[in-house]
Each structure stands twice: as structure tokens, then as C-alpha cells.
């Protein structure tokens, strides 16, 4: 286990180092798919220059990083490449989480195996399969071309991913304090991880054997405790930012920028084209409609998946990366790293082939249509947006497919793998 992991790390570092030194690095860091106005390195440099001159980095409309981030780079700007090289490895921590998780599950299954019908044993994962999952997660993240591109472009998206990964790691390790602090940090970075509060809470409740019951005082006690950690650290972090900068400039410049989407540079998301075409007086209404998408799904998903908080985390991260206002391929890479963890769902996936074809074709078509639109001038924005739509369609299909497969597996675990109709013929499950 350690040897392949080391090999993997060496390969990953080599690829990145080679790309950093090659002439491709500059090209990649200009790609709109890889960097967004929120996390472009060019903008960080601009912010740093302003800070050094004693001007507020948020004066002007270029810099949209959080204050803590700029102070981090203020001290490490000379080692920026190293910071970016290192940040993906925090995501490796993700891989470590699966070890305890699986042990936990194994025990659960051992305890409850008599409860499941006999033919379902093939649905349970063997310890050997589980043994390789951390390695696969690490491979999926470190060797994913999306991550590599994002890292070579020095997009700060990699750091945000690292924070979210650390948060998941601490959550799964069961440390409510660290988890709350890291969740606050992730929220502070990009707001949207706010929706991860629900799955984290559900996980801790499950871990502590507290039933989700609104009339139980123990439920409320723990919820308030976790919420207090979360809100408290959020206040502390925000206050710290205020004291570092001496002004509240960063609130409109970072969070206002995320929410009101003033920058309509094309990206792989759904916002830019829609808001570029829209009449100005509908803007507020549609911003609300678009932004609600990210937050709204938390409620039905938390109800449906309250027994499966880890899967809920995956769903939430995927939804954030699809519906956020400035998505980049780095965000996509984060939830894709989870896919090997659900390798036991493959037999129930229905459209995975179609989805992978769509995602693959779209990744190739993004630069082609960008070239036709911007350089050749023969295509136009509609062509590019069509591919954006297709890409997001693929992602949504992927997530819903995993959701369906997860539910179906649970169904089979309870009702047996080979379902019979009442008249004895083989039954099929239909999701309607």
C-alpha cells in the first residue's frame, strides 16, 4: 500500500513539475475552464502588489480572494509553486478517511449481517476491495487531468479543495471541533460549503448514536454545540480578516462578487451566458433563482440520505461544483475523487458510459470551440455555451445516476438481490 502510494506521489509531482517548467504553464493559466475570476493566480499577484503598496487590495475590481488567503501568499509568494504542488496532497488525506470508514462499515455489516438476506452478501464489499480504495481515491485526484491543469495554472481552487478535504477527513475521524473550524474556513473561502453543515451534523449524530428526533433534547444539545463551534469560528475568522485589513471591504468584494455574479467571463458554469443575455431588471430575480439551486437541494437530500451522511457529502460537493457561480475544472475534480469510494455501486449504474463519453467529448470540445469563437471568429458564444450545457448535463446525469444506484443498493440490501414479483417472475425496479 505504501509503495504504490509513494510511486503515485512521485509520478504526480513529476508531471506537475515538468508542466510548471514547460511553456504550457502560461497557456493553461489563461484558460477560462481552469481559472475563474475568483481564483486566478494573476489576480492574486495583482492583489499582493496592491497590498505591498499599502493600498487596499480590494480597491479596483480585480482581486476577489479572501484576506487570509492574501496574507498566506504574502508570506509564501516566493514559494507559490511549492504551495500549489503541496496542496493536492492534503486531498490525499481524503484517501486516509476511507480506512476508518470502512472498518466502521465492516463492523456494522458483521453485526447486522444476519439481518440482510443471504443473497446480498455479494453486495457487501470484501476487505480486499476496501483495501485499495484509498489508493484509488488518491489516484483519481492526483492523476486527474483536471486537477493537474488546475494545479499548473496555480488556481487557488486547489487550496480550497484541500480545506474541504481536510474538513471531510476531520469529520470522519470524529473530531467535531476541528471539523467545525475547517467547515467555517471552507465557508469563509467560498460560502457554498455552508451546505456541508447538514451532512457533517448528521454524521456526528449517527456516530454518537443520537437519533434525529426534534423532540429529543440530546439532539438539540449536540446540534447547538456543533452550530456554535461553526458560527463561532466563522465569526473569529471574519473578525481576524477585519483586523488584518482594517476594513470590511472584503465582504462585498468577495461574497458580493460570488452572489451577484458581476463578472460574466465565460466558464464551464451555467451563469455567464444566461446573465449576459438577460434584461437588466430581471437580474435580481434570476440571481436568486440560480443561487437557490445550490442551497435548496440540501433539504430533500438530507431527508432522503439522513442515514448516509458520507454519501450526502459527496452529493453536496457535486451539486456545489455544478451550480456555483464561478466553477472551474478543479471543483469538478474534487467530487470525482470520491467516485472510486462508491465502486461498489458500479453494477447499478446505468448511464456511466454515456456520461463518461459526454464528459470526455466536452473536455476536448471546450478548447476547440473557444478557438473557433475567440481566435477564428467563425463560431460564437452559442457554440461554447452549448458545450457548457452538455458538460453540466453530463455532470447532473452522473450525480443522479450515483444517487439512484446508491438508493437501489440500499433497497436490495433490505429486500434481497433477486426480486420476485407476486406471480414469481423476475421484477424490475423503476424509478419514477
Amino acid at each position: 500500500m505504501a509503495a504504490p502510494l509513494t510511486l503515485l506521489l512521485i509520478v504526480a509531482v513529476t508531471i506537475r513539475a515538468v508542466l510548471f517548467r514547460s511553456s504550457l504553464a502560461e497557456l493553461i493559466s489563461e484558460r477560462v475552464e481552469v481559472v475563474s475570476p475568483l481564483n486566478a493566480w494573476k489576480r492574486v499577484v495583482e492583489g499582493l502588489a496592491l497590498l505591498d503598496l499599502g493600498v487596499s487590495p480590494y480597491s479596483g475590481d480585480v482581486f476577489h480572494e479572501t484576506p487570509l488567503m492574501i496574507y498566506l501568499f504574502h508570506f509564501t509568494v516566493d514559494y507559490a509553486e511549492i504551495v500549489f504542488m503541496v496542496s493536492p496532497y492534503f486531498v490525499d488525506c481524503l484517501s486516509c478517511f476511507l480506512a476508518p470508514l470502512d472498518r466502521f462499515r465492516k463492523q456494522k455489516y458483521a453485526l447486522e449481517s444476519d439481518r440482510y438476506p443471504a443473497d446480498c452478501l455479494e453486495l457487501l464489499r470484501s476487505p480486499k476491495e476496501m483495501f485499495y480504495i484509498p489508493l484509488k481515491v488518491a489516484m483519481f485526484y492526483l492523476l486527474n487531468p483536471f486537477t493537474i491543469l488546475s494545479c499548473v495554472a496555480k488556481s487557488t481552487c486547489g487550496l480550497n479543495n484541500a480545506i474541504i478535504a481536510l474538513f471531510i477527513f476531520c469529520t470522519l475521524k470524529g473530531s467535531a471541533l476541528l471539523s467545525g473550524i475547517l467547515l467555517a474556513l471552507a465557508t469563509y473561502q467560498s460560502i457554498y460549503p455552508l451546505t456541508l453543515f447538514a451532512p457533517a451534523l448528521l454524521f456526528f449524530l449517527q456516530r454518537l448514536y443520537i437519533p434525529v428526533n426534534l423532540r429529543r433534547s440530546s439532539f438539540w444539545f449536540f446540534t447547538l454545540q456543533y452550530a456554535f463551534i461553526y458560527v463561532g469560528s466563522l465569526v473569529v475568522i471574519t473578525g481576524l480578516s477585519f483586523f488584518l485589513l482594517g476594513s470590511w471591504d472584503f465582504i462585498p468584494s468577495v461574497y458580493g462578487f460570488i452572489f451577484s455574479v458581476p463578472d460574466l467571463t465565460p466558464n464551464i458554469g451555467l451563469f455567464w451566458y444566461f446573465f449576459a443575455e438577460m434584461f437588466e431588471h430581471f437580474r435580481l430575480f434570476f440571481i436568486c433563482v440560480f443561487q437557490i439551486n445550490v442551497f435548496f437541494y440540501t433539504i430533500p437530500l438530507s431527508i432522503k440520505l439522513k442515514e448516509h451522511p458520507v454519501f450526502l457529502i459527496f452529493m453536496q460537493i457535486a451539486i456545489i461544483s455544478i451550480f456555483k457561480s464561478y466553477p472551474t475544472v478543479g471543483d469538478v475534480a474534487l467530487y470525482m475523487a470520491f467516485l472510486p469510494a462508491w465502486s461498489h455501486l458500479y453494477r447499478f449504474l446505468r448511464n456511466i458510459f454515456l456520461v463518461s463519453c459526454v464528459l470526455l467529448a466536452c473536455s476536448a470540445l471546450f478548447p476547440v470551440l473557444w478557438h473557433l469563437w475567440i481566435y477564428a471568429g467563425s463560431a460564437n458564444s452559442n457554440f461554447y455555451y452549448a458545450i457548457t450545457l452538455l458538460f453540466n448535463f453530463g455532470q447532473i446525469l452522473l450525480v443522479s445516476d450515483y444517487f439512484y444506484a446508491y438508493l437501489r443498493r440500499e433497497h436490495h440490501l433490505i429486500h434481497g438481490l433477486y426480486l420476485k414479483k407476486k406471480d414469481g417472475t423476475e421484477a424490475t425496479l423503476v424509478l419514477k
Binding site: P4, Y132, L135, K136, M139, P340, S343, Y346, R347, R350, N351, I352, F353, L354, C357, L360, A361, A364, L365, V368, L369, H371, L372, Y375, A376, G377, S378, A379, L397, Y404, T428, L429, V430, L431, K432
Partner: protein, 608 residues
Amino acid sequence: MGLLSDPNRRKALTNLLTRLNAPICMVCYLAAIVWFMGLAFEPFTLRTYMSENAMGSTMVEERFSSGERALSLAKEFDAHKTKAGGMPVEWLVKAMQARGLEVFTQSFSRKLPFPDENKERYMVRGTNVYGILRAPRAPRTEALVITAPCSPGNSNNQAVGLLLALAQYFRNQIFWAKDIIFLVNEHDLIGMQAWLEGYHHTNITGMEYSPLQGRAGSIQAALSLELSSDVITSLDLILEGLNGQLPNLDLANLFYAFCQKLGVLCTIQGKLQRNDWDTAEGYTHAAQTMMLMVLKQACGRSWGDHGLFLRYHIEAASIRGINGFRHYKMDVATIGRLLEGMVRKLNNLLERLHQSYFFYLLPSLSRFVSIGYYMPAFGLLAVILLLRVSFPGLMLHVCFSVSLQPSGPGVLTVLTPVVISHLTGVALYLLPVHLQEMAVEHFPVSETEAVVLTAVAIYTAGLALPHNTQRLLSGEGTEQGWKVLKLTALLYLAVLLGCTALINFSLGFVLAVTLVPITASMTPHMPKALSALAMVLLSPAFTILYCVFIYQELIEAPVSVSEGWMLFLSVISQGILDHALYGSLVYPLLALFVYPCWLMFWNILFWS
């Protein structure tokens, strides 16, 4: 979504696709060919129309009448050119200055990666001369360009003469709202490339040039002029630019409109328009014209000096005078009037040409096929690949479980052929130019031959690779191994051809027509010798060879096999040169992607 989520209907659909896979693929292929050939049939095409308001409704009266002066200037230019043994820079500068232009020169030099035997040049040194007529009526933020190449020998003198006469005439008009740049470029495309790079402050091809001293506004449109005789019978419009890029269709419409107005015979691809579309000859004529356009576009080179403008977002076309149809004759003054009219309409533009089509094929000058009509022909071919993908896709869960085993045999069996084919592709791309010196030392060939023959040799050597690949593998190739490889290769080919067709439809379509049938049906269980022969005959190199023969046939200059072979070799050297000099993408595309992809299928055939 019902179809995707209802398992019963899904099963029915997959059953249907599996059972009827081969017939459906066959029908798709035939339908694609029939659809494509049907595009030239007049009722299926659209009539061209002017979309740009600024050029459509404004009336222009052409008054240019100094045809004689143009011809005498041409003679004078010819004399000075012969005397100087090249571009008569001083005379040109004086001539332009005398006509009241701001005149500047730009010198450039370029060493070709290997000697160009078609044009007999290796170390190229030259000077561009250009004069700017400043717009009297507007803030000079936009410009138009008229160029005439200064060619060796006594060709193209009339173009330079007409250019100077036009400059003199335009200087006395007051209605110019855009600067007009009159450019005489030496060494055709190389000079043009140097001038354009100088104008836009870029350097993408390693050209050495002196910076431009005078500039005008952003260039909106450009016309390139090629006239070689005093009497012209018809004008030919050339649209195909670098990498198969085409100018906005409105530019062709503009040319056609003025030809109609002045009663000038106009051709495209050197072919006159016929009115008898309902006869077999009429249809064949249109089909030939369209095929010529497809072949020219597919080869991705610039067919006139205008081709390099397109890269900079400048709509441009070349107008070539032809002296062939004996019954019609027109003087230089008529051509001058035609150019005057075109430039004046372009002068009226309020924004860049963008209203009309950028993706089109022209079966004649008055008819066009838009992207919406020709894409289905390619789509039908791409569907075959996807259908074949979905066929082995039934064992997809197997594939996925294989590919998800880290460092298991599944990944390795596929990865080895993929990597080796791509390394061969890289060798094909890099070695011919870099190894020429060594090849010249050891073999009695010239540099150009050395480059081309090295390319052919590496290409052929690539065919011997599968056996080596097999030895590198740990064990025997499994049944599952080739299926996974085929799945990868089919997907790869589909994405590759799709992207190519978007950028350069003709190239994508020509490649798809030859590559799809054999790749879609390839399995290791076919008779080896026969299918190997079929694969070689349908490989990318043979596609180029066929294109050479078909092209020669279409321009009514059929060649024998040995001449065809020589032409094929020169096409390859031109392709490599175009890539090195102007950044044409066809050679790297073929060498780095299409050929390795084809090798992967070759690998499947010899899977044991």
C-alpha cells in the same frame, strides 16, 4: 429521461442496437455519402444573399477609368523589376509617394527548415512596401488592405500596376472613412506573414522582420489581387485560407454582386457557373466544384495571399484574373471599377463582417451549403463510431472494473499500445526535419527528398510495431484486452474527428470517409492478410494519395501514377513547410493524432 431510466425500454433499445448494429452502420455510411453528394444538387442548396445592411442597400457608382495608366505602370514596374532582379523597392516607394501615400518599407528574412523545391527557395530575404491612404472623413481607427504580390518572372505586374493606378484614383476621392493600405509583398506568403506579424506585434513562426514604421487602424477586410496579363477574360475568387478557414460569406456575395453588375465573368475553383442544374452534366459540374472546394479546404494551406489574414480575424479573399475563355474580354479598367466598388462598399461597413455564414461550401458562386446542411453528413459517419462503441459497450461494466484495478493488467495492456503509437506519432512529427542532415550525409538525396522520404520511412516503420508491442506485454493478449483497446480507440477517433470537423469540416469529413469503415469493423479475428491490405489502403497516407489523384482529375489535369507519386511527395513536403512557416495544423494533426489512432486499430488487427 424516460428512455434512460426505464429498464424495460432500455433493454429493448440495446437489443435493437445489438441485433441491427452492422446493418445500421452500413446504412449510416451510405446515407452519409449520399447526403454529402446531394449537397451539390441545386434544389438542396440556398441562394446566396447579402446579409450585411451596410453593403446591401447603399448605392455605389464606379468611375475608375485609368486602365491605360495601370498598364503603363505595370510595364514600368516590370522594367524596374527586371533591372533590380527582385522587388524594385526604391521605384515603388517613389511611385507611391508621388501618389500621395505615406510610404513605409519592411524588410524580413526567413530561413526555411529545408529547401522548398516547388518555389526554389531556402534563405528568403525580402522587402515589403506599403503605402497608407489616410481617411479624410473619419478618425482613422479602421483600415482596409489591398495587396498585390510581387512575384518573380513577369507575372503579376498588372496587379501592381492596377494597385498603383487605384491608389492614385482613390487619393482624389473624399469619401474614405477607413484608411486604405496598399501593400506590395515580396515572396508571396512569407512576405505577407512578416507584414501581418509586424502589423499585429506578434511572432508565432520565428520570422525575422523589421518593425513597421507606420500603421493604420484595425484592419476590417483585405483583398489580394493577382493579374498576369493585359487582357482578362474572367475573374476567379479564392476563399480557402490557412487551416481551412473561410472568410465571411458576405465577402463572396459582394464580389459576385459586382461581377453581375459589371457583367464580368466570374468563376470559383476555376469553374464557370452553369444554369442547367436539372441535367446530369449540370449536377456533375456543381459536384466537381464543391469537391474541389472540399479538397482545397481539407489540405489546410492558404491558397492565396489572403489566407493568412483570416487568422487575425480579418475577412479576406484573393481575386485572380484568368485569361482563358476566349469569347469574353475585358480591360483592366473594368477590374479597377469592380475593385473600386468592392472597396467602397467595404468602406461603408459599420462593424466587422459577421452577419453571414463562416461555415459553408460553395457548389457555385450563387449557391451555398451552410453548416446546418453539411454537418449531418459528418454526423452520420460519427454515429457509426458511437454505435460501434456502444456495441462493445455492453460489456462495459467489465471494462470499468478492469480499468479501475490500479496497476492491474487491464490498464497496462491498453496503455502500452496507446503510448507506443503516440511515440511513433511524435517521431513522425519531429524526426523528418531534425534528421535531414544525417540523411543527406548517408544517402544520395537532396534535403527536401531526405525530409519527405524520412517521413514515409517512419510511417512505414510504424506498421511493424504491433509485434514489438506484443513482446513488451507480459503475456498473451487477452480477448478482453483488444476489446478495451478498441473501445478506447473508437472513442478517441470519434472525439478527434469531431473536433477536426468543427475546425475544418472538409478535413474531418475526408478522414472520416476513409477511416470509419475499416476502423469500425476491425477485430483480430478477421483474415489477416486481406484486412491488413484494406487497412493500409485506407490509412491516412493513402487518403492523401487519393486526394492528390482526385484533385488532379477535377482540375482536368490527370496525372500518371509516377507523376502522382511525385506530386504526393511534394504535397508532404509542402505540408511540413506550411506547418513550419505559417503554422498550418494539418501536418501535426495527422502525425500526432490521426496516425497514432490508426496505429491503434492496426494493433488490434495483430492482437494475438
